[in-house]
Amino acid sequence: MATAPVPAPLSTPHDIIEASSPSGLAATLHDWVVTVDHKRLGIMYVVTGLVFLVIGGVEAFLMRLQLAQSGLTLVPAETFNRLFTLHGTTMVFLVGIPIVFGFANYLVPLMIGARDLAFPRLNAFGFWILLFGGVLLYWSFVGGDGLYGAGSAPAVGWFAYAPLTERAFTPGNATDYWNLSVLVTGFGTIATAINLIATIATMRAPGMTLGRMPVYVWTVLTVSAMTLIILPPLSAAQIMLLLDRFLGAHYFDTQAGGSAIIWQHFFWFFGHPEVYILMVPGFGFVSEIIPVFSRKVIFGYVTLVAATVSIGAVAMSTWAHHMFTVGMGGTLNSFFAASTMLVAVPTGVKIFNWLGTLYGGKLRFRTPLLFCCAFLFQFLCAGLTGVMLAVAPFDWQLTDSYFVVAHFHFVLFGALIFTIFAALYYWFPKATGRMLSERVGRWVFWLLVVGFNVTFVTMHFPGVLGMPRRIYTYPADRGWDLLNLVTTLGVPLQALAVLIFVINVVYSLRHGAPAGDNPWEAWTLEWATTSPPPAYNFATVPPVTSRRPLWDAQHPDDPDWPHE
C-alpha cells in the first residue's frame, strides 16, 4: 500500500503549542505537566516520594514525641491512631512505591539503550493518578470531617483490618478516603508495572540479551511481574470493602457470617510481597553501585539474577506469617514458617555476591558506597530478626510488639531508605549534570546511620519486654521509659540528616561541580550519554557486546565478552 499523504491539519496543534507557550515559570510548569518523557516522570515520581517521606517522617516524629515518656498527653489517642495509619499508608504507597518505580522509570530505558518506555502516555497516567491518589488520602483531613462530622483522617491502620473498617465501626468517610486513595494509586502502579515489563521485553538495544542486562533491570523485571500478581488482589479486596460500605454487602461483615480473617489473607497476600517489591530494586541499586566503587565486575552475576527471581517467586507464598496468631493450625503455620525461612536462602546468596564483589576490590569510599556498606550491615540484622519472627512460637510471643516494628523498620528504613540514598547520590549527577557534595554526603551518612541505629536498635528491647505496638501511651511502672526516650532521641539526628540532604540538593542543582558524562567511571549504558541525557537519550543506539558495554568501548583490546 502506498503511504497516504499526511493531512495538513495534523501539524497545526503542535504549532499552536509552540506559538502560544509563554516563557518563564508558566512554560516550565506546562512542560513538566504535559511531559511523557520517562526521565521527567521518573524525577517527578522520586520528588513526590521524597515530599511524602518528609510528611510521613513528621508523623513518625509526632508519634515518637508522644511515646518519649510514659503518660504524656501531647497527642490524643484518636489522633495517634490517625498518625500511624497515615504514616504507614504514606510510607508504603506514597514513598516506597513512587521512589522505586520512579527510579525504574528513569533508569530502565537508559540502561537497556531505549529511548523511552513502551507506552509513554500510560506512564504519565500512572504518575498523575498516583500523585492525586496521595492528595486524596490527605484530603481526608478536610473531606472526612467536613462532610459527616465523624472522624477526619482514617484511623484503621495501613492494613485496615476487618471488621473495624465496616461502616458500623468506622462511620463517616475517613476509611473511604483510605480505601479509594490506595485503590487509585494501585491502578497507577499496575499500569506502570505493565509498562516496564513491555519495555524490558521488547525494547532492549541490539546485543542487550537478557543475560547481559544490568542486575538492576532484572530486579525491576522481577518486581514488576510480582506487582501484576499481588497488587490486583488488594484492589479486589478494596472493591469488596467498597461494596460492603456502600451497597450493604457482607464480605467482611462478621454479623452476617462474613470473615474477618479472609481480609487478612487478601491483604497480606499483597502486603508481604509488597515488602519485596520495595526491597528488591534496592538490591538492584546495591548491585550496580558496589562493582563501580570496587572497580570489579559483579561477583556471580548469574547466581545474583537467579536469587532475585527466586526471591520474587518464594515471596508470594509467605504472606500468612503475618497471621500466626489467628489460629490457622499447625500445618499452615509450619508451611508459612518454612517458606519464610526459605526466602533467607537466596537473600543470603546475594549478601555473599556483594561481599565477594567488595573482596579484593580497589574500594573508593564515596558516599554511595558508604550507604551500601551500612545497608549490608543493617539488612543482615533485619534478615536475622525476620528469621526469628518466622518461627511461629516465637512470633506468638512477640507479634504486635515493638520488636516487630523494629524488625520491619530495619528492612524498610535501614535497608530500603539507605539504598535509596545510595542511589540518589549515585544517579543525581546523571539526572542533573551536577555533583552532590561529598563532604556534606558524609555528614548526611553518619547522622543517618547513628540516628537510625539509636532509634531502631533500641526499639527492639521494649518489644521484648512486652510493649505492644499501636498504643498511644503506657504506664510508668513497666520499665519502658528509658528505652522509649532513647528511641525518640535518635529521631532529631535523622531529621537533621534529611534536612541537610535537601539543602545540599537545592544548592547543588545550581552550584554543584559539573558532573560530566561518567563521573564515577561506571560501565552501564546510562553513563554513555550526556548528563542530563537529551530527550531522546541516545543519538545512536550504543552497541552492546557484554554486561559492561562502556568497558568494552573504552578497552577494545581487553573486552569483557570473552570472560562471560
Partner: protein
C-alpha cells in the same frame, strides 16, 4: 521486527495477567463463602444454568478469531461481518445476564445485601459482565471503523489484541460458570 506491535502484545499479556489475578480473588471469595450464608436463598434454589448465554459467549470467541484472521488477510468486509456477529453474540450474553439478574432481584428478592451468596455472586458475575461491556465497546469501535472504511490490514495486530482480551473474558466465564453454576449449585 515491528517493535510497536510486539510492545502491544507484551502490554496486553501483562494486562491480562493482572486481570486474571483480580478475578482470582473474587473466585476465591465465592468459593470461601459457599454454603456459609446465614439465611436463604441458596444457589440451588434460585440459579438456573445460563446455557444460551454461555453458548453465545463461547461461540463469539470463534467469530472474533475469524474477524482477526480475515483482517490479517486484508479482507476488511469479511472482518467487519465477523466483528458484527461477535458484537451481537456478546450483546445476547449480556441480555441473558440482565434477564437472570432481573429474575433474581425482582422475583426471588436476592440482592447483594440479602446473604453471603448474594454478596459474592453479584460482584463476581458483575465484574465479568463489566468486562464484557468493555470488550463490546472495543469491538464496537473496531466495527464502526470497519464500516467507515478506516480499518485496514495494517491494523490487524490491534484487532488481534482486542481479540486476545475477548478470549480472556471468555476464559473467565468458563471459570465463573464452573464455579458458580456447576460446583456452587
Amino acid at each position: 521486527m515491528n517493535s510497536a506491535a510486539s510492545r502491544g502484545r507484551a502490554g496486553v499479556i501483562g494486562f491480562i495477567v493482572a486481570e486474571a489475578s483480580l478475578f482470582g480473588v473474587f473466585v476465591v471469595a465465592y468459593l470461601f463463602y459457599l454454603g456459609k450464608s446465614v439465611t436463604g436463598p441458596t444457589p440451588r434454589e434460585v440459579l438456573d444454568l445460563p446455557i444460551v448465554g454461555t453458548l453465545c459467549l463461547l461461540s463469539s470467541s470463534v467469530t472474533v478469531a475469524l474477524a482477526a484472521r480475515a483482517l490479517a488477510a486484508a479482507r476488511v468486509t469479511r472482518a467487519g461481518f465477523w466483528l458484527f456477529v461477535t458484537v451481537v453474540l456478546g450483546l445476547a450474553f449480556l441480555g441473558s445476564t440482565a434477564r437472570e439478574w432481573r429474575r433474581l432481584i425482582v422475583d426471588r428478592g436476592l440482592t447483594i445485601g440479602t446473604n453471603l451468596f448474594g454478596t459474592t455472586f453479584y460482584p463476581l458475575v458483575g465484574l465479568h459482565a463489566s468486562h464484557v461491556i468493555l470488550g463490546l465497546i472495543m469491538l464496537g469501535l473496531c466495527l464502526a471503523l470497519a464500516c467507515s472504511g478506516a480499518l485496514k490490514a495494517i491494523h490487524a495486530e490491534r484487532v488481534e489484541l482486542v481479540s486476545w482480551y475477548w478470549h480472556f473474558v471468555d476464559g473467565v466465564w468458563v471459570v465463573v460458570f464452573t464455579v458458580v453454576y456447576v460446583i456452587g449449585r
